[in-house]
């Protein structure tokens, strides 16, 4: 019953990648291969598998990875998945916001006159939950690409999206109306690995605290 393979860590490509690899360096995990090769996805010898941040909970829930690192925005959107959220890693700070075109708030006007506000987002569950919680009716329009485009073309009155600096919003004449929550990178664990490989996982948590 002694584990032979190293723990597998699901590592997010994109904005969180560099700081995540720095973190893994601190744990003594060899990341040079990952840094030098952005086409390869699986680094079995060091227990790293790289993927889109939104895929991390999928791999961790199924046990295809024992641990994973991804943003709280992703975890909130996939709250129905089963994993342990062990640690707030502090980096990758950004905000989930509701934004509209500047000037008089078009979402308020839509709600007042038409009863429903249309909201474009890549986070349909997060957006729907926010409007339900605040007692407002919303039509959630899921888009895959640049969310900023949707209010500029008249597709929707508002967007729910993640922003770190607000630059993209500003450049598109969008202003933040509400902040839903602040998001940072989190360490998550598969529920079975959390039990069967408790000592190894606890060592990692202790080292990262």
């Amino acid at each position: 019953m002694t584990p032979v393979r190293p723990l597998t860590v699901a590592v997010p490509r994109g904005a969180l990648l560099t700081q995540t690899l720095d973190l893994l360096d601190r744990l003594g995990i060899e990341t040079a291969q990952v840094r030098s090769n952005d086409r390869r996805l699986l680094f079995e010898e060091v227990g790293i598998v790289t993927m889109r941040p939104s895929d991390v909970p999928t791999y961790v829930e199924a046990g295809a990875a024992d641990l994973g690192i991804t943003g709280k925005d992703v975890l909130t959107e996939q709250a129905e998945r089963d994993f342990y959220e062990l640690l707030d890693l502090g980096y990758g700070g950004c905000s989930m916001v509701l934004a509209t075109i500047g000037g008089p708030d078009p979402s308020a006007e839509a709600l007042r006159r038409l009863g429903v506000v249309r909201v474009a987002t890549k986070y349909p569950k997060t957006a729907a939950a926010h409007f339900e919680r605040t007692g407002r009716q919303a039509e959630i329009v899921e888009v895959k690409g640049s969310v900023e485009l949707a209010p500029l073309t008249g597709l929707v009155e508002a967007i729910v999206d993640l922003t770190a600096t607000g630059t993209t919003l500003r450049e598109n004449n969008l202003i933040i109306r509400e902040e839903l929550f602040h998001s940072t990178a989190r360490l998550i664990a598969n529920p079975v690995a959390h039990k069967l490989r408790a000592a190894e996982i606890d060592d990692i948590v202790a080292a990262l605290r």
């Binding site: 019953m1 129905e80 089963d82 959220e85 989190r186 598969n190 039990k195």
Partner: protein, 316 residues
Amino acid sequence: MATIHPLPSGTRDVLPDEMRELRAVTAALLDVFTREGYGEVSTPALEHQEVLQRGGGAQPAYRVMDDHGQVLALRPDMTVPIARLAATRYADEEPPLRFCYLADVYRGARPHRGQMREFLQAGVELVGAPSPEGTAEVLRVLCAALDATGLAGYRLGVGDAALYPSLLETFAVPAQARETLLRDLVDRDFVGLERELGRLDLPGDARETLATVPSLRGGIEVLDGRPGTESLRRVHDLLEPAVAQRVLFDLGLTRDLGYYTGAVFEVYDPALGEPLGGGGRYDELLGRFGRPLPAVGFALGVDKLHIALAGEERAR
């Protein structure tokens, strides 16, 4: 091209090759259950919704109205129907009562490998046998059943559903915060748990205890110096070595069904990313049906067990 006749979400057909393997698994389980004195029972797939609600288990996902306008629901587990059965059909029988079952149950789960919305469970219920003897017996039967299927690498996570609530009581945590903390624990959200603890006005050692207890897991040593774990230790003292070496104490273990009152357990195998099954003590459930008796049981997901067996075979 074949015509498409879709199945309801979360259901599936089983064809002969798989069915043969599933039969071998369930035959091995039932063989152990009956050898250990657990009589097999069958109950209706449909129960009055009121009966299921009285039991307080998982939420039923499918409801129908019968020709008398009564609301019926497909059973989400077998523990509540067997509690009803035990309290009504065996109202005067001398305990302990031992039942086992192999039955389809229905839940509003997100369908994925090993977890359909209609899924087969095999399990036992031991009624009228208090802790620690009853709990130790059921853990022994659970190991014997898993051994009989040929599963090799499994471990049993054992915790106590009453432990964390009693700690919150001891430290006089306000009611609203208790609810938040227990929710975070069930959601396995340790970041949320620590944040909530940070908000509370608690002495340092209380905060430290409430933050660390959920991640304490390992051998019998994790119970050392932990108030509230005496009953788990008494269970451990009754376990044979072969069972004890499978046990992994887990003070953060919770099961999200509402009826558990004491020891709770889950079955883990390295070949599957989620528990194969679980169970625990539900000492107050029978009382809700008019016959207050302590009870304990477990249920195994047959599909999950089958997947784990196939996974272990591949890894060999």
